[in-house]
Subunit: 136 residues, 2 copies
């Protein structure tokens, strides 16, 4: 239940509730969340407040929203191991909009990337939710 007099804002409380549903598996990967209007009604919130809660979960990469369709729990990605040579420098950051398109990052998801530099030159950019880097 949302407690309006709690210190945490309502949108954060709703995000916490939904995150618990997701991480516990009660809402399995691939499943749609209730649509925004329904969440608003169920919890006695405005739709903008629900959208802020969903934004929190998108930033954590837990859900992806498709316009005109709904918000679903993301499938845990198969992770590829990428070897990093010795002497490399790895920098992690958020991608720009152009990079997202280039790297095939789904719209609505919030995923970091890793740059691997060697000898002052960029050797590769890797997407966080489907790559692990290994040092050899």
């Amino acid at each position: 239940m949302i407690n309006r007099s709690a210190r945490d804002p309502a949108y954060q409380q709703l995000a916490d509730l939904l995150r618990a549903e997701i991480t516990s598996g009660r809402i399995p990967a691939g499943e749609l969340l209730p649509f925004e209007g329904r969440l608003a009604q169920e919890h006695g919130l405005g739709r903008q407040t629900v959208r802020k809660a969903l934004d929190v979960l998108r930033r954590e990469g837990l859900v992806v929203t498709e316009r005109g369709y709904g918000t679903r729990v993301v499938q845990q990605q198969e992770r590829e191991k990428v070897p990093v040579p010795r002497g490399a420098l790895i920098r992690i950051r958020m991608p720009s909009e152009a990079e997202r398109a280039e790297l095939g990052i789904e719209a609505g998801s919030v995923v970091p990337v890793a740059e691997v530099w060697l000898g002052g030159r960029l050797r590769g950019t890797y997407v966080g939710d489907r790559t692990d880097l290994t040092t050899s």
Copy 2:
């Protein structure tokens, strides 16, 4: 100028304008942006729309907002080099709210973290905007 009939939404256009001011140095690091109400008036937008534009810049790590004070252009962070031993596995992802507090990540900024695993055990968690990993 904001073009209301353009394909890009108004908040994105404002974010682009402000980003250009920042990256060009016309608004130097440490400087405050005009406050939200002023930006709204200057560009003929609602305050909520201005807030969405600022959110875009916060996600890119370009600005930081302090409640009751204002939004300022961030100082370029001093980056620490963290050596990663051979045979390690590096996983990058977004931090939870609890981790953000633990790692001292400023509220309002969107920053990834890197986990370094060695021998199946977590050896460290590093914040993306102030750390580079180096392989030895």
